[in-house]
Amino acid sequence: MEQEQEQPIERMLRGHDFTDGLSDGHVARLASMASLQTFHADERVLKAGERADRCYLIQEGQIAIEIYHPTRGGVPIQTLGEGKVLGWSWLVKPYRWTFDAMTYTFTRAIVLDGVRLREAMEADPEFGYPLAMRFMEVCAERVSHSRLQMIDMFDPH
């Protein structure tokens, strides 16, 4: 029964941009820590300050990363869609989410168990290093995009 459930997830993982170029063995290992989750529009996915123990590989939909502002409420910063990765705080101490995340539309995602994945990455560098580099790329891309937003490039003044 477990194997039957794992096979479609493994196929889905292979179809996600995040696993592009990963070995079959590594994808199979990721699949053993993966499950599927769907969200309706306007559902909270992450809340800042809560324990970060998972990672989402988005297959369909839009998720907004938000910062909570005491008077303005949730302030959206970026949206993430198909092929993107949501959540890397499970990888770095203190393992707490630093942002909120809300769905804007119906969303389907592969959920990776962050605690098991972190332990496996630490125990086996051959598995862990390429994955750590991929998550590093996600972080670098996010920082780069945030910097471009910060400079307000369409402001003529």
Partner: protein, 279 residues
Amino acid sequence: MAVAYHEPMLPVPHRVRRMTWETDDTFTMELVAAGGGGITSFAPGQFNMLYVFGVGEAAISMSGSPSNPETLLHTTRAVGSVTKALASLHPGQLIGVRGPYGVSWPVDEAEGRDIVIITGGIGLAPLRPLIYTLIEQRERFGNITILFGARTPDEILFRDEIEQWRRRFDMDVLITVDRASRDWRGRLGVVTTLIPQSPFDPKNSIAYVCGPEVMMYFTLEALEKRGMPRERVFVSMERNMKCGLGFCGHCQLGPKFVCKDGPVFRWTEVASLLDIREI
């Protein structure tokens, strides 16, 4: 490219027929020649020098359809002395027009290829004539994708037209904004974030890019990462143009004059020049 003027430094009087405010600070002027001597043809990406009497001239791209050159459309933002003076004009008033000038977007080179148009803010204006042309000749091209970024939802240019383009079944239009409240349910993030998922085949595509230079720089980086060869990327550059004919040197970019050698360049022509901050 054929240039349809006789005396290149002599402005031809044109009358403002209509002023349309696209956003809080961006407007489109509709101009018609007041007598004879108006422009009879132009190509997508070319610009005119618009002369406000007693104030000065500014280089503004054509934003209308090349199929209707008798009615000139120019879309610009009121930021400098000339563009602010243009913004204060009313229908019936006269301005001077010289042009059309400059190198246009290469349309024939796109034949049989996918096309990706990447633009942000006011950068959509010089690309609109190209989009009209591509739609008119739709059967010549593969997938057409327009990626557009704006500062906020209120600053989306040509909103009604973009909605019409989005409703078409033969092209993809993706929009993102840099800032928005929760009321905006579209994409949020810089325009480069749209590139990885866009439906074009980088091995057989051509890209047309126009926007602030920093946007173009990161766009080109993202296109390269996607596998797009540099020689099939075209950009429209902006510099302080004065004569429009390559005489005065105001718009010099290294060995290039943006007014005459551009404003549209193949990316390989200008990439190394943009790395030199001093020019």
